[in-house]
């Protein structure tokens, strides 16, 4: 047993987190930064932060993740990190020649009160940022929110600092801003495909496709071809509307675009599952007057066909989920819609709306569901719930493998981080095609277990 000290008796905890279902802001900021073309992320803090975030993202993507660090020492922690950051910017632009450096803070630099905006300005004033190069920054204290907050803050920084303010009476550009939220490069690629299929001109950022799924060529492209360009991000201020996918990951940037550039926005759920994708396409159709093409309707039909075909394997299956609010809300709705029972759900990411929205999704259809988010909504608590009454399926990041093996529960990896399987970079979970992928994965593990456990006389060829 891997988690032999976990018992069904749920202990009341007021201070201790055990097996968190979240990590800290800067890693999200680093991930978002990689979705800008030609961008070198920079971590303003101790070296360890940068090393941990790079390692974590690298293990998840099996791709190079380049980033600089301010390498704080005890001295800089006492006297401030300005000198380190100015020097770092100079070194990065000299040696690695990025178009953009995206700086995020850490708990260290936030605690001592470093002001990134002021330091970046100083670096520009001192000529440490070459002509035509850009520095964008975000405050991402690790003691507030989670990795999702950091992602959202960096996206908001891009919008706030880079988006162009339209001229007074200028008509908006015929384009929609898509803020995809923290999804995989495969998902970003899929969202772009859907937009192209819809025939709606768009700008999307961040965009990590062709960055964190870069091809093997025999050369290391320090700045792979993907990522939203600065020009694209600038033009997002001139767009006619913004669709923020996922409130936790994207709403902050949408709000900045509204405040600064008066681009109206709608916040939607991540388009995971049938209904959330329906809402995404309907909204897109509504704001652009573009009908949803038959090819996408056919994709919906194929996903639905798979659901109805395999319904007996899904009906009533109890599922435990952990991860990020945007994914969990959409996924729980999807599971409930296909007659599964998302019974235990935890997310370390805070946000009051979570409980309310989840109640709305599950209240009537899965009244027995237990869910919690924020502090101490951790995998230990979820596992204790599982010990009380079991589940048929686990869905979440790689840390679920210990519960899966201890309690012999089929396990589908979704979310961040996935350290021990590949595929998430290449196969999307958003849109109808993504729904098919989720179904395939769920059915695969559920049916594998059925096959494994079936007595010989009950073993089936056709299922």
């Amino acid at each position: 047993m891997f988690l032999k000290h976990t018992t069904a008796e749920v202990a009341d905890r007021k201070a201790l987190t055990v097996n968190p279902a979240k990590t800290c802001q800067p890693v999200g900021a680093m991930y978002a930064s990689l979705g800008i073309h030609g961008c070198l992320p920079h971590s303003h803090g101790s070296q360890g932060c940068c090393a941990y975030h790079r390692s974590s993202l690298t293990r998840h993507y099996k791709e190079p993740v380049m980033a600089g660090t301010s390498s704080f020492t005890e001295g800089s922690s006492v006297f401030g990190g300005q000198g380190n950051l100015v020097q770092a910017l100079n070194n990065m632009f000299t040696v690695y020649k990025p178009d953009v450096v995206a700086v995020h803070s850490t708990c260290l630099s936030e605690t001592i009160g470093d002001d990134l905006g002021q330091i970046v300005k100083k670096a520009i004033d001192e000529g440490k940022v070459p002509e035509g190069k850009t520095v964008v920054y975000a405050s991402t204290p690790s003691y507030i929110g989670s990795h999702v907050t950091g992602f959202a803050n960096m996206c908001a920084g891009m919008a706030k600092q880079l988006a162009e303010v339209p001229a007074e009476d200028a008509a908006p550009l015929d384009q929609v801003n898509i803020l995809p939220g923290w999804v995989e490069p495969s998902d970003m690629r899929e969202i772009k495909r859907i937009m192209k299929t819809m025939g709606v001109p768009f700008v999307m950022y961040p965009d990590t496709s062709d960055v964190l799924d870069a091809p093997m060529t025999g050369h290391h492209e320090f700045y792979p071809k993907g990522g939203a360009t600065i020009e694209e991000i600038k033009s997002s201020g001139l767009s006619k509307a913004t669709l923020a996918l996922g409130a936790w990951g994207s709403e902050a940037a949408a709000q900045e675009l509204w405040k600064k550039c008066r681009v109206p926005y709608e916040t939607l759920d991540l388009p995971i599952g049938i209904k959330a994708t329906d809402r995404f396409l309907s909204k897109l159709s509504e704001i652009t007057g573009t009908p949803v093409p038959e090819s996408l309707t056919a994709e919906r039909g194929r996903a639905l066909d798979m659901i109805t075909d395999m319904q007996n394997y899904l009906y009533g299956k109890r599922v435990a989920l952990w991860g990020d609010p945007d994914q969990l809300l959409a996924l729980s709705e999807f599971l409930a819609d296909i007659d599964m029972k998302p019974v235990y759900i935890v997310s370390g990411t805070p946000g009051k709306k979570f409980m309310k929205k989840m109640e709305g999704i599950l209240g009537d259809v899965v009244p027995e569901a237990k869910f919690k988010n924020g502090e101490r909504a951790d995998m230990f608590l979820m596992h204790q719930w599982i010990k009380e009454e079991g589940v048929d399926l686990l869905m979440g990041n790689s840390y679920g493998k210990y519960i899966s093996r201890d309690d012999d529960i089929p396990f589908v990896r979704m979310g961040f981080p996935i350290y021990d399987r590949v595929g998430h970079s290449y196969f999307p979970t958003v849109g109808y095609m993504g729904a098919i992928r989720i179904l395939e994965k769920m059915l695969g593990v559920i049916m594998d277990k059925q096959d494994r456990d079936a007595p010989e006389e009950k073993f089936e060829l056709v299922m």
């Binding site: 000290h5 190079p64 660090t69 060529t217 025999g218």
Partner: protein, 545 residues
């Protein structure tokens, strides 16, 4: 032909791109080796901000490296959630927690500090968290690991530990001031971990009886290395009291003073404990290396020589003879694939040295090497320690004053015996470092930057590059296979005889794999687009009648 490359020129070219001040500093960390007259290398100094280093922090060295592998101490991270999360099961320290042994390594414990804790202090939350951890898990010990903000806001983890130890009664609770900004790399964290283990754990257990008792220091059981070493020692009849800290338990640490010899694997991370135990308990230490079959044999022989028992020596020889048979068989199988190939190693504080032994056995030359967080003594040998300048960053790391334990101090061997054994090659309290073993003219580079790494690879085109996860995929995108020497690419074990066999096979696979030949589509290769159709006006493919 990499040997013909002028490394001095390469070094100057590598430095060219840097701003002048940076170039001056980096130049001191990039040296051309001369084993006859070891040059001075700059090491254990601050990394230049923005240069793209692979280094981590003090917390990583303390919690992640040294304390991480111990299964029955609850490692409680005091700080925001990230540090605990990233060091949760990511270092492949295997442990044998079979039966009813306690095991907390699969758990991540954190105080998950929030904004109000930063503003008003986190000590109260820390104490509550300790109480809760104790109430739920009943551990015999809890270690508290400070993250960056803890030191800055003035939380006193040591006072909290003392208070809670007293309150709880049967749980040893101790803190580590291993804030990420301490020192210049993981190395500071190792030292801090050593200090607190020595202060709070070592000596707290009962004295264990036995014959030929040793401790293995600086072996972290990555991929099961410590398991292999445990097996070999058992076969030889050498009793292992404690490993610091692979597959270890609290009680082993507590009783480790019972050993009669300390064997140091990773000198960088644990030499402090070795020195302090000698001072306090009179246990001598020797540097060993169980990476490489020959090195393993040599290390075993030196341990046997120390105990001087003929029966033990015979048994060790018998084990070596048996094991070497299968080692040689595999080596002979793969040697034609590996002989004449080249490698570069940039990793850790000892691995970049140790693994050169394995590569030597395969006929693979080391063209360049360096550590991520080594000190000058790890490169040049301990003889340079008195000449190392103590800078502000090192001065901030506590040096314990250790005195003889009047009751338990026991001089294991007389001064005369020690002298005689030293002459035989036991080399007590010494480590000769990496450079004496490397060829003349090879490059030795400390805290290699990403840029320097790419330049080295472009110029030398090594057959295999050894580093860590952050470098892995960038190097492989360049068409060069990278062997991770932190995680072994989830393979291993690589220690001992069994490990050598695994390593031979894995490296042979890496340098002979055909997958690299697939890089580049046929139509991308030069001359692949012959304009047959356009020029001749006839189809490029002729259909047969």
């Amino acid at each position: 032909m990499s040997s013909l490359i002028d490394n001095e020129k390469l070094r100057d070219e590598m430095l060219d791109i840097y701003p002048a001040k940076v170039a001056r500093k980096r130049k001191k960390a990039i040296v051309l080796n001369d084993p006859a007259e070891i040059p001075e290398i700059q090491a254990n100094v601050r990394t230049i901000p923005g240069i793209i280093t692979q280094r981590g922090c003090s917390y990583a060295g303390c919690k992640g490296v040294v304390l991480g592998p111990t299964r029955d101490i609850i490692n409680l991270t005091h700080g925001p959630i990230g540090c605990g999360f990233y060091s949760w099961l990511t270092r492949r320290n295997q442990t044998d927690a079979s039966g009813d042994k306690e095991n907390f390594m699969t758990y991540c414990f954190s105080t998950d500090m929030q904004d109000p804790n930063i503003v008003f202090g986190g000590e109260k939350k820390l104490k509550e968290a300790i109480q809760e951890a104790y109430d739920i898990f009943k551990p015999k010990a809890i270690g508290i690991f400070s993250t960056c903000p803890v030191g800055l806001i003035g939380d006193d983890v040591h006072a909290a530990a003392r208070e809670m130890t007293e309150k709880i009664g049967d749980c040893n609770i101790f803190g580590f001031s291993c804030e990420g900004y301490k020192g210049v790399s993981q190395s500071a964290g190792h030292h801090i971990a050593n200090n607190q283990l020595f202060r709070h754990v070592i000596g707290k257990g009962e004295e264990l009886p036995g014959k030929f008792k040793i401790n293995m220091l600086g072996e972290y059981n990555i991929g099961g290395d410590a398991f292999v070493i445990e097996d070999i020692l058992e076969k030889c009849g050498i009793e292992l009291i404690a490993t610091f800290s692979g597959n270890s338990s609290y009680n082993q640490f507590a009783s480790s003073y019972s050993a009669d010899l300390n064997c140091v694997m990773c000198h960088r991370s644990i030499n402090y404990v070795a020195e302090m135990m000698e001072e306090k308990y009179g246990i001598p230490w020797i540097k060993v290396n169980f990476i490489g079959a020959k090195s393993t044999a040599k290390s075993l022989r030196r341990i046997a020589d120390y105990f001087g028992n003929q029966e033990l020596k015979d048994r060790v020889e018998k084990v070596i003879a048996e094991e070497m048979e299968s080692v040689e068989a595999v080596k002979n199988e793969v040697f034609s694939k590996t002989d004449g190939k080249s490698a570069m190693l940039f990793v850790g504080g000892s691995r970049a040295h140790h693994y050169q032994d394995l590569f030597n056995e395969l006929g693979i030359r080391t063209l360049a090497a360096g550590y991520e967080f080594g000190h000058r003594d790890d490169y040049e040998g301990r003889r340079v320690i008195p000449t190392i300048k103590i800078d502000a960053d090192s001065r901030n790391i506590e040096e314990l004053t250790v005195t003889k334990d009047e009751e338990r101090y026991n001089q294991r061997i007389s001064d005369d015996e020690r002298k005689a054994l030293d002459e035989q090659g036991l080399d007590f309290s010494d480590y000769e470092g990496m450079m004496p073993q490397m060829e003349e003219g090879t490059l030795v580079i400390d805290d290699l930057s990403h840029y320097e790494m790419e330049e080295l690879i472009k110029k030398h085109k090594p057959d295999v590059f050894c580093a860590g996860i952050k470098e892995k995929y960038a190097v492989q995108k360049m068409g060069v296979p990278l062997k991770q020497l932190h995680s072994y690419d989830y393979g291993g074990p690589y220690a001992g005889f069994e490990g050598a066999i695994n390593f031979y096979k894995d490296i042979a696979q890496m340098v002979s794999s055909r997958v690299w030949d697939l890089v580049g589509a046929p139509w991308e290769k030069e001359g692949s687009l012959s304009p047959v159709y356009v020029e001749s006006g006839s189809p490029a493919v002729t259909m047969k009648d």
